[in-house]
Every structure is written in C-alpha cells, then in structure tokens.
Subunit: 454 residues, 2 copies
C-alpha cells in the first residue's frame, strides 16, 4: 500500500493503493506479456526523458526559498531567470508535478490487458471536459492506430445506394459539434455486490465527457437513401479484431447520433476510435463503436454477441434483461472521495458530477449525514443534455465523522435511487447499469472511504 | 517550401511553408541558443521513441489492402489481430498520423524565443474547445514548471487583512467552472499593414478556448476585506521573470474574473501559468496573468510598462490610445483557409469561429463572393458568453474563383467591420486589436490564399 500523497487541497492517495502495481508486476513475472511490459517501460522511459530534457533548461528550486544575494530578497529562481522558449513542446504535456494523475488499469479485472479497462482519475479532475489524455479506455480486442488515408466507412443493407466513404468524403459533409458524456454500461459494477471499491477512479471512472465533431448519421442515411418503408434498425461495426457490432434503433440513429472524427477540438485519439467512432448520446459506451467501418440498415435487431449475450442485466429471479442501453440519471461526489484525506476542520468545496442519458440534469442535492438531510448544490453552466454537469456546494467540516452523498434529478423528474432501493428491484448479481447514490464516509481522522451501508 | 499535404478533406499545407523551419535552423547554426535547440531535439527524439515503442506492437499495414489468405478476404491487419493493451499510455497522445498538427513559433517575429509566440493550428481543429497541448503560447520571459507545493498567492494593498494563500488554501474555496476564449491583443497584427499572412494559424492562432476552474477573485477580495470606500483597481503580478503586472478595474475584478488552476478538466499546463493564472473573460490575453503570485488592491491605475508603454493602439494622427483591453467581436473561417486546397468541385462544409469580449455571438454571416451576398451560418450550441462559437455553413463550389468571408454580430448589436473600415478609423500602424473581416481567396485550382483587397 502506498502512503497518502498530499495533493494540495485534494489530498489524493496514490491510486495504486487499490492494487499494488509493483506487486502485480512481480506476480506476473511468469506471464507471457513481456512484450507489453516492455512497451510500458519504454513508454515510461520516453516520458521521463522528455521531462528530464524539459528540466534541463529551467532548473527550478523550491519556489519559496530565499537566495544568498540580499538584493534579490526572497524572489524564487523562476522570477529572476529567463524561462523556456515557446514551442519547446510543439504538443504540450502536463506539468511534471502532475505525473501521478493517470488513467489506470485495474489488474485482475480481466485476464488480458487488451480486453480490459483503464479508468479516468475523476478525483483529480475539474469542470465537465475530460482531458483526452485521461479519457477512459475499454477495449475488447486492444487498440490500433489506424492510417486515416486507408480507412473507409461503408453503408449498406436496406439502402437504395450503398456507398463507401473515405475520410475526405466525410469531412466535406455538414458537421456538428456537441458535448456529451460517455459511460460504460459496467461502470460502478463492483458496487452491485458488497465490494467497496477504494477510489472514485475505480468505482466511477468508466466515465468521460468531450466535445465531439462529426457528420450526423441521419445525413449519411439520407445520402444512401435508406428504405423508409422497411428500415427499423442500423448495425454499427468496428474495424478492430473484436467483431464489435451493435444494433441501434432507427429512430435513435436518425435523432442525435454522430459519425465523429473530432474529440475536444482535435482528431479522436487512437484508443478512442481514431479516425472514426459512433457517438450515441445517452447510450452505454459499448454502442459508441470505435474504428467505425460499416453501418448496415436492417429490418430487425441483429442480436450480436455483444448485445444478446453480453451487456445484459442479471435479475434477482435468475432471468436476464436484454437491450437496456440508456444510462439513467446518476451522480457522484469526486472531491472529497474515497482514498483522499481532509486537511483538517473548516471550510471545504464539495464537488462532483451528475448526468442523465435521458436529457439534462435538473437538480443535485448533497447530504453530509448519510441521506437524512439534503441541501441543493450549485450547478455550473452550461447544463447540457446528455452531458456531464459539474456541481459544487459549501461544507464546513467540524471534525466529526460524516457520510457524504449526492442525488441527481433529471428533467424527466427521475430521482437517482439508493443502492438498497436498486437492489430490491434488480438484485445483487448484475454487472451493468448501477446508477445508485454513492456514499463516502469521512472519519474523524479526515480519511475518506467507500461505504455501502447507506 | 513544402509541398501541400493532403489532410483528408481539409487539405492543409504543412504550416512550415510560412518560414522553412529547417532553413531557419540552418541559418541559426551560428546562434547562441544551442542549448535550446538541444532541448527541442531531445524532446523530438523522446516523442519519436514513444511513437516507435507504440508502433512495435501494432504494426498496421495500410487498412484497405488485401491479404494472401483467401479466407480472410480484404480484412486489414487490425481487424484480425490483438491490439495494444489499455493504459499503454497512462496519459494518452494524438495518433502518429497527426504529428504535423502542432503549435508553431513564427521565427523572426521576436529576437528571443523565450519572448515570442507559438500559434494554435486553427486550420486543423474542430468545435470550440482547444486541446490543451495546442493552446497558443505567448511569453515575455519564457515559461517555468513551478512546484505547486511552494507556490503562494499574496493579496495586499487596500485590504483589512492581507493574506498569503497556499494552493491547498485556494482549492478548498468555492469554485466555478466556465468556458471562455483567450485572445492575445496582438492577434492578426500583421494584417494592419498589407502583410497577407499565409495561414490562419499565423493570422489568427493567438486564440484558444478552454473550460477554466478556480475561485472567483471576488471571493478572495471579500476574504481579505478590500476597502470598499477607496479601492478602484487591482494589480495582478506573475511569478516569471518578466515582472508582468496589469491593472484591472475593480468592477471587472468583482464580476467574472477567476483565479484559476484548472483548464479543460486538469491542472493548467506549465506554459499556460501552472499552477495559477488569472482568467479575465473578454479581455486581451496579457491581463490573464500567468504563474499568478500577487494581487494588490489600489486606488488608481498602476501604469505598469506592459499597459502604459506596450499594448497601446497607434492611431493615424500619430497619437496612441491606451487601456483598450476588450477583445471586440470577431470571426474567421478556419476551413477552408489560406494554405489549404480544395479537393475538387462540389459540396463543402465551410466552418469557422466567432467570439466577442462583450458577450455572446448573436449571428454569423458568410459570403463566398467577397462580401456582395451573405447567408447566415448555423451556430453550434452551446453559444456562451465570452467563449468561442463554432459556425458551419453549406457551400457548393462550382470551380470558379471565390472569396470567402465571415462576419460576426454580437448581442450588443456590434457588427464585425471590414478591414478598410477599420483602417479608416485606426490607420495602418497599429499592432493591437484588429478584429476585421478576413478574406480567403479560392483560385480555380482550388488553392486558398490570404487576400486583403476586400
């Protein structure tokens, strides 16, 4: 276990505390993925080299220290020297002091890292835009960096004119830009049972929010002349090795679905589907098919493996609920959250995220006593449909133990449920679609932990 | 000169065409900044090493090629293989195919690269969020990566309780998150004369837009008990070596100014003021003091060098206009733009950015005939106050020469002026505050160039 890292005001335990990375690596020495760990090592060394190169010019000493020269008084080095030039990094990177803020795999969650998850460190983020470098990853067969000049999108099936589009073709078409959240249907999966995942990165970190740019799918379907009489669904297919295929009802496909190439102002990142992915606002991430290469128009659901067999809700009576794909209204406090430690008594800004796959967040309430009393939080603007909403609320901590919760209400009037309310209907065997209220327990010591008793 | 690079649909000439980077380096061999160029080289090598390491696992071949095995038909390699693992890059980077999209210095603009500009490549971006790695840079004495644990913010002057805040202190306070543009007052400076800058990166690239998070300055001023009877202004001071100090009127300081640590969801980047910068919505970038370390409350403007001597508007009668800091309503078409080349006749999505330092953009009109006829563009939502607004409009190119222009109108009713209207009032000797309509000329060949005759 790592010792807590004081992270100025947000006091984050190094997320390695969940599972000891070095220990895992130790255990894995007999594993076959030497090549992969070699890649990680080289990647880390390259990053270190870049930092060292950056450090060579600045050579900052601690910023508050004084100096031998009495005329300079206590001005830090960086206030007395020429700094680094512009474009020293043609593509900029975070400060070397932020190196601990990473997306992280949860080893052991899956048997192969190419079919696994890397979680977004929500505990260290602000606002609603997720930095693209920290966007969560969930791959079924690993990721590729695909040459966009060779990439194609085919539209076939119940269309008058099947077409194959190049990226050139697509990027000349009418485009839209919209901010939307994406959440994996399995986010917060562990909490169905009584596993109190030790940080919000691992409990809620299959969640990101970006500004996406692309051509509306409706424009492409019109361009190919889809059959208005018989068409009921579209099938989206990705170009990775997982045969990722998902059915989307036609009314949704014609509504707000985007064939996107842009994410947060630039091209999609390779891990997020470069050069093309489907954006299906409000729907679980698995339908946002990455490396999109084909759309087939059909007259009935395709019942592909990733919708008929996987991504089903296990119900308490032993049955399985299929085709539940909307991400219902949900929220979570990101700071303070499990693994962090309060700095002492006094004022805190309690902050978190709320979202709904059905529209806008109308209100977020916050409790510091495990749900007995609630106060309404401030929502940062803009509050957008099917996007993350940032909330903030004041809290004066008196040093006594406390249980922090947030509860979101969307513009349909739906209220985020308690975990026990949800379990009463859905049981405890599920993996998917857990949108329950999350509880963080603050101890008298200031330590914050995940608790499930509320 | 570089030959044009086909960049799928947006056909960008490599921005090096402005000034040949290698040639400049060649010329500079006798220069003294060997250390700096060493840093650049190491930085580049590290990036290349990271890419090579990344490439080692995937080994993609062109995505459309077939394969010797007839059973596999024409499936590309990446559709038949296991890809790279999650968290292969704990902090992700753009695709290797996007390496040409960089912020770039305009060598020769200043004598020292530590007091220069690196421009944002607007011609390759989408939506309104600028990726933090491509945020423009303008430094007066270079940049530093300052240790946040040692950084302090002092508030003094006409206050009852002068205070020194740590980052811990600040990050516990009530915070807000807001999307705002930042534009250098000298953006589009070259166009005052008859220099037709060869790409939108260099003509308009001192412009970025991000979601900022921090504590409102009003909260800090209240916390220190500013003197409501005598206080008229605040002075903001940065911790770099440039003695960057700017006066801000008190009413503005109490309005929407933020002492920010967050940018696009994560901590500020070092080049943009990590760990603390002032966000002064609607006001030219120089007032957004980076590496903010002190706020002094005063009873009259401080007339510091960077406001009394620099950042003045040269008027046609030989006088200088001081203290013009609001960035007036402006817009520019980013694609197609100078240096790009159309792919052939037919449909194009014409897209660009509009903004106003006084509030929201109400409307953007686009002309394809040098301002004789105008059509109203679609504005992407959200349209936010003092933020970039993305516009899109359809255009069917018939192959004839054309002149593209955009004209923004803000919610005060102000209409972006033509360059000759602006010159009639302001002359041609200015550097700052050029918000004129920009003209891009499309030749019959499809080549797009900057023209100033309209």
């Amino acid at each position: 276990m790592d010792k807590p890292v004081r992270r100025f005001g947000r006091v984050v335990k190094a997320p390695e505390n969940f599972l000891d990375r070095e220990l895992i690596d130790e255990i894995n020495t007999q594993g076959l993925d030497e090549q992969r760990r070699g890649f990680l090592r080289r990647s880390f060394l390259a990053a270190s080299a870049a930092m060292a190169a950056g450090g060579a010019l600045g050579q900052e000493r601690p910023a508050v220290s004084g100096d031998g020269d009495p005329h300079i008084l206590s001005l830090p080095e960086h206030s007395r020297t020429l700094g680094r030039p512009v474009a020293a990094m043609p593509y900029g990177l975070p400060s070397r002091y932020e190196a601990n803020l990473q997306r992280r795999e949860s080893p052991g969650l899956t048997r192969v890292s190419a079919a696994s998850v890397a979680f977004t460190p929500l505990q260290g983020l602000f606002g609603i835009i997720t930095p693209s470098g920290l966007h969560f990853e969930r791959h079924h067969q690993g990721w590729h960096d695909i040459d966009p000049t060779g990439h194609r999108l085919m539209i076939n099936g119940l269309v008058r004119n099947p077409k194959v589009y190049t990226m050139d073709d697509l990027m000349r078409m009418p485009s839209v830009s919209r901010i939307h959240f994406i959440e994996c249907g399995a986010n917060t999966a562990m909490e169905w049972g009584n596993v109190a995942v030790p940080s919000v990165q691992y409990s809620h970190g299959m969640l990101s929010c970006s500004e996406f740019t692309g051509v509306p799918l409706s424009v492409l379907l019109e361009d190919c002349g889809y059959d208005k009489r018989t068409a009921r669904v579209v099938l989206a297919e990705g170009a990775d090795g997982s045969s990722m295929t998902r059915t989307i009802p036609l009314d949704r496909a014609l509504d707000d679905v985007i064939v996107a190439w842009g994410m947060n102002g630039e091209m999609l990142r390779p891990e997020n589907g470069y050069p093309l992915r489907l954006v299906v606002p409000g729907i679980q991430g698995v339908s946002w098919v990455k490396w999109l290469r084909r759309i087939e128009v059909g007259d009935q659901p395709y019942a592909t493996k990733d919708e008929a067999i996987h991504y089903m809700d296990a119900m308490p009576d032993g049955s399985y609920r299929q085709y539940t794909s909307i991400q219902e209204c949900k929220s979570v406090i990101t700071t303070p959250s499990a693994g962090q430690r309060l700095l002492g008594t006094g004022f805190y800004n309690v902050t978190g995220l709320a979202w709904s796959g059905r529209g806008k967040v109308r209100r977020v309430d916050v409790s510091v006593d495990g749900g007995r009393n609630w106060r309404t939080a401030r929502l940062e603007t803009p509050v957008l449909s099917k996007a993350l909403t940032r909330f903030n609320i004041d809290w004066e901590w008196n040093g006594a133990p406390a249980v922090l919760q947030s509860r979101a209400i969307d513009d349909t009037g739906y209220v985020q449920p308690k975990i026990n309310e949800l379990r009463a209907v859905r049981g405890t065997r599920s993996i998917y679609h857990n949108n329950a209220i999350q509880s963080w327990q603050v101890a008298a010591s200031g330590e914050v932990a995940n608790v499930q008793v509320y």
